[in-house]
């Protein structure tokens, strides 16, 4: 039997085969979406660039050459040089690591937090639900970037604090989504059965409710990733995120702003990088939503 036939079999013989088959069917649906494939290529490219930055970059990212300040794009410096004579392309390639790191940290902290808060609220009901959802509503009552700004103001500028601030403002929508799913499961028979077997509340939530809420949260997170990149870049641009010697793209646009009228490439190139990557995440997220959540079509 061919691998394809085994994957798409109507009668899987093991749980593992069924899972692999569903993943493969999802992949087939996703790969038919051309825009999503463009997004996947961009995101994949970002991962490759981040992994291989030291080998791909023609110069070290912090190598200053004051004799070659603010040079326009040329054969030696494909994207030109900045105000310290540093190669912009090399800095962008190294900055890809920072961007990926920011997205990854926010996603792995905010998503599980929102997931747990939402499922606990939906499953428990009563006063716990009220308290948790009130808290969520209060966080949702502020525009995200403004709240992140206030957090950074209190914590002090810097990339770690910017990431923390973005994570603190990102979890509420996930909690909402997870709660909505958990509510529909509250009186499900299989939950009642698990309870009858004597499963503890923690086991019910983690083992039986969380897995059901996971797809909607994953879709939501993948749609939000571009927003996280933009928020981090915005904080960097305002001088509240990553601080200058770091090759963070938003901070690079901010320094380039001083030379915008004459040496436009210093600000234009990092901004283009932010745009491309965030477009990639949005295209991919859009495609994933169509595959994982047919209701949203």
């Amino acid at each position: 039997m061919s691998a394809r036939g085994w994957l798409l079999s109507d009668a899987p013989t093991s749980r593992w085969q069924a899972r692999a088959g569903r993943a493969y069917a999802g992949w087939l649906a996703l790969s038919r979406n051309r825009l999503a494939m463009v997004g996947l290529a961009i995101v994949g490219g970002l991962v490759v660039v981040a992994a291989l930055a030291p080998w791909l970059a023609p110069y070290p990212p912090d190598l200053a050459d004051l004799g070659a300040r603010l040079r326009p794009p040329s054969a030696a410096h494909w994207l030109g040089t900045d105000e310290m004579g540093r190669d912009i392309l090399s800095r962008l390639l190294h900055g890809a690591r920072l961007t990926l790191w920011i997205v990854a940290v926010v996603a792995v902290t905010a998503a599980p937090a929102g997931l747990v808060i939402g499922t606990v609220a939906g499953q428990a009901g009563g006063w716990l639900d009220t308290v948790l959802m009130r808290l969520t509503d209060v966080f949702l009552a502020f525009p995200k970037l403004i709240l992140a700004l206030a957090f950074v103001a209190a914590l002090g500028p810097g990339i770690e604090n910017a990431v923390l601030a973005i994570a603190l403002t990102s979890w509420p929508p996930y909690a909402r989504v997870a709660r909505a799913e958990a509510l529909t499961l509250r009186h499900a028979d299989y939950i009642a059965a698990a309870r009858l077997y004597g499963a503890s509340p923690a086991r019910i939530v983690l083992g039986h409710v969380v897995p059901m809420c996971l797809p909607s949260v994953v879709v939501r997170v993948s749609l939000d990733m571009a927003g996280m990149i933009l928020a981090a870049a915005g904080l960097g641009f305002l001088g509240l995120g990553a601080q200058p010697p770091m090759p963070e793209w938003g901070a690079m646009v901010s320094t380039g702003r001083r030379f915008i009228l004459e040496q436009w490439w210093v600000a234009a190139m990092p901004g283009l990088a932010i745009f491309t990557v965030s477009l990639g995440f949005n295209l991919l997220g859009d495609g994933l939503r169509d595959v994982l959540d047919p209701r949203g079509r």
Partner: protein, 337 residues
């Protein structure tokens, strides 16, 4: 549920949200690494002075007491003094807010005027190239860093083509010509009959409003497309077509007429989201609004101004959400009663 008990529940949840907003800003103010006593007395003051000021500022009280005091102050409209401008924060905000309101409102109008037709077009042409174009423009509007778009717009239309005036809200020689009545320069200039000032202000407004409007258009066109797609699959559309109505009438009157109510909420929400975009846009265009005030206060470590500004923005955000909710109830006969 009766109408009065629903109203009571609604007011209670509003009060809780307001308390929550204040709790968040209060707690943020408490984690900050700056010692408010030290900031007030300077580091050369003796221990007795330090302790006296600490008591005067109420910092020796338990946290819940301090929070109650804070709520009382906010309720009386006292957001403290800004250390940068040496004026009450509320007064500062009242002065800069009209600039943000003017910018966000124009951006919202642009976004709505372009976004709704684009969304309708995309939905009726589902799957064909106009649909793809609208979708890609929408996604691009979501993905572009707005501060970068603003910089590039300034570079192209101001520096290279010289079509637009530079940053700022008005040219220096028109500064102070018009007496602020509403604080919205366009309206003030019209009231005073100063057409030249009006034209100058409009020219300054055009670029930032377009940049911000693109952001709003992305959201509005996407929501319109989704809502219209849903409507066009309904039975009453089939009926309208079967009656032989023209396609234009079916689309614009029967389908769009039915999504008008949810669209109102979409537009109100996009207006609220523009508050956020305006922080970055105002910084790029040196637009003297709430966003620029917030960032300047942040960089100047002016905590009262930052927290006051955050609280006001949060309150406006909640207010606009309520407004969209109310409009929905007023306009949709099914939600009334």
């Amino acid at each position: 549920m009766t109408r009065s008990s629903r109203l009571a529940g609604w007011l209670l949840s509003l009060a809780l949200t307001a308390l929550g907003l204040m709790l968040v800003t209060f707690l943020i103010g408490r984690v900050m690494p700056i010692d408010p006593v030290l900031a007030a007395v300077g580091d050369r003051a003796g221990a007795d002075v330090y302790d006296r000021v600490r008591v005067e500022l109420g910092l020796d009280q338990p946290l819940w007491r301090q929070f109650l005091t804070y709520v009382g102050q906010v309720a009386r409209g006292d957001l403290g003094h800004s250390t940068l401008t040496a004026r009450p924060v509320l007064e500062d905000i009242a002065r800069v807010f009209p600039a943000t309101l003017e910018l966000a409102t124009c951006a919202m109008l642009i976004g709505t005027a372009l976004g709704i037709p684009a969304g309708v077009l995309a939905a009726t042409q589902g799957g064909r190239w106009p649909d793809h174009v609208v979708r890609v423009i929408g996604l691009a509007g979501y993905s572009v860093p707005i501060f970068w778009l603003g910089l590039m717009a300034l570079l192209l239309f101001y520096a290279r083509l010289d079509w637009a005036p530079g940053p700022g809200r008005i040219s220096a020689h028109f500064e102070g010509v018009v007496e602020p009545v509403t604080g919205l320069i366009l309206i003030d200039a019209l009231l005073a009959g100063e057409t030249e000032v009006f034209r100058d202000a409009l020219a300054h407004l055009a670029l930032p409003a377009l940049v911000l409007g693109l952001f709003s258009m992305a959201y509005v066109s996407r929501m319109t497309r989704g809502l219209m797609l849903e409507q066009l699959g309904q039975d009453h559309i089939v009926t309208a077509r079967a009656k032989g109505l023209s396609e234009a009438r079916v689309v614009w009157r029967h389908a769009l007429g039915n999504v008008a109510v949810p669209l109102v909420t979409v537009v109100a929400l996009s207006w609220a989201n523009l508050l956020e975009g305006s922080v970055l846009t105002e910084t790029v265009f040196a637009w003297p609004g709430l966003g620029l005030y917030l960032t300047n206060s942040l960089l100047g470590a002016d905590m009262n101004a930052v927290l006051g500004g955050t609280l006001v923005v949060g309150a406006i955000f909640v207010g606009l959400n309520l407004l969209s909710d109310l409009l929905y109830r007023l306009l949709d006969p099914r939600a009334a009663g």
